[in-house]
């Protein structure tokens, strides 16, 4: 009866709210499950239930406070190099829409993953390195020149997947305006003579951000 149906949907929405969801999700596309989350889920499912209650407001895999782990896909675009082709291999705006974070959730860890196509970056030439820089940016585009990078690394060769801890970039877990924008630059370092121009935008296979947050419920419980 309509009354029963209304009562059921009321109960369902109150249960969803207690699960931390504003409404019942209706995924438009079945995004593949990131392997890191799948491994974490399987490990928790198979580990024997300990007698004493483990701290369920802590993500043991990363040893940080938290009870929610999300992986956000990058929605940014490649930016024009803006420099003579030789040195700068690629420049990309990394844009993560973090609006799914609920009111009161505190970010306790943010890890950026860059996945490259296999062997996309060979050592550019004898004695040469590849330099990687990450700058804070606004979703509208590249950083003001001369800004200090958030993170700077040199590599003799790029592995297929690189992980960078960004928690320091996010002051005390606050996310400005519900999204995170960075500019990634990879360039051929000084010295040596490049055998061939370094691989460009086709080298980057995927970019994602893994975020651990402490939900309001957990925080209340911890305070208690």
């Amino acid at each position: 009866s309509p009354v029963l149906a209304a009562e059921l949907s009321r109960q369902e929405s109150s249960l969803l709210k207690s699960l931390g969801l504003s409404a019942k999700p209706s995924p438009k596309s079945a995004v593949p499950v990131p392997p890191v989350l799948w491994r974490m889920f399987q490990r928790r499912k198979t580990q024997p239930r300990p007698q004493e209650e483990p701290d369920s407001c802590r993500v043991e895999e990363f040893n940080v406070p938290g009870n929610i782990v999300r992986v956000f896909a990058d929605q940014g675009r490649f930016l024009p190099e803006g420099q003579p082709r030789g040195r700068l291999c690629l420049r990309k705006l990394l844009f993560f829409n973090l609006s799914a974070l609920e009111e009161g959730e505190r970010l306790t860890m943010a890890q950026l993953e860059l996945q490259f196509h296999h062997n996309s970056y060979q050592p550019p030439g004898p004695g040469q390195v590849l330099e990687l820089r990450l700058y804070p940016a606004s979703p509208r585009g590249p950083p003001q020149p001369g800004r200090r990078p958030l993170l700077e690394r040199s590599f003799v060769r790029m592995h297929k997947s690189l992980l960078f801890e960004l928690s320091a970039a996010l002051k005390d877990g606050k996310v400005p305006g519900g999204d995170l924008a960075l500019v990634l630059e990879i360039s051929a370092g000084d010295g040596g003579s490049p055998r061939s121009p370094c691989a460009g935008s086709d080298a980057l296979a995927a970019t994602s951000l893994l975020a651990v947050t402490l939900g309001r419920r957990c925080r209340a419980r911890r305070r208690r």
């Binding site: 369902e12 969801l21 995924p27 438009k28 989350l37 928790r44 239930r49 929610i68 782990v69 992986v71």
Partner: protein, 115 residues
């Protein structure tokens, strides 16, 4: 779905009873990735006088049982409720199609008691 009624009469005493929750039964299978369901259990059974030690009861429940046995209509028996629960992790799509792994506390009944 709770367990089919077993051939032998189930113990009337307070204890965890089997309850398997299948998310497809509640129409959530399209956004919950895993698990497809889980053993939640529930507490069922009586808390009769004298309260046996294994019924995990409080002093108050013991007294309440005594009063109930003297005046059944005036004071009810204590209730059979969860006294130890454990969490589960759920992998699901959120409203922005992100994949989320979330730890939910107090989702499985491990122990019941008279309170």
């Amino acid at each position: 779905s709770s367990a089919p009624s077993p051939a032998v009469s189930p113990s009337p005493l307070c204890k965890p009873r089997r309850l398997y929750i299948s998310f497809s039964d509640v129409g959530w299978e399209n956004w919950i990735i895993a698990p497809q369901g889980y053993l939640a259990n529930y507490c069922g059974g009586d808390c009769p006088f004298p309260l046996a030690a294994e019924l995990n009861s409080t002093n108050h429940a013991v007294l309440q049982t005594m009063v109930h046995s003297l005046d059944p209509r005036g004071t009810p028996q204590p209730c059979c409720v969860p006294v130890r629960l454990s969490p589960i992790s759920i992998l699901y799509y959120d409203n922005s199609d992100n994949v989320v792994l979330r730890h939910y506390e107090d989702m499985v009944v491990d122990e019941c008691g008279c309170r």
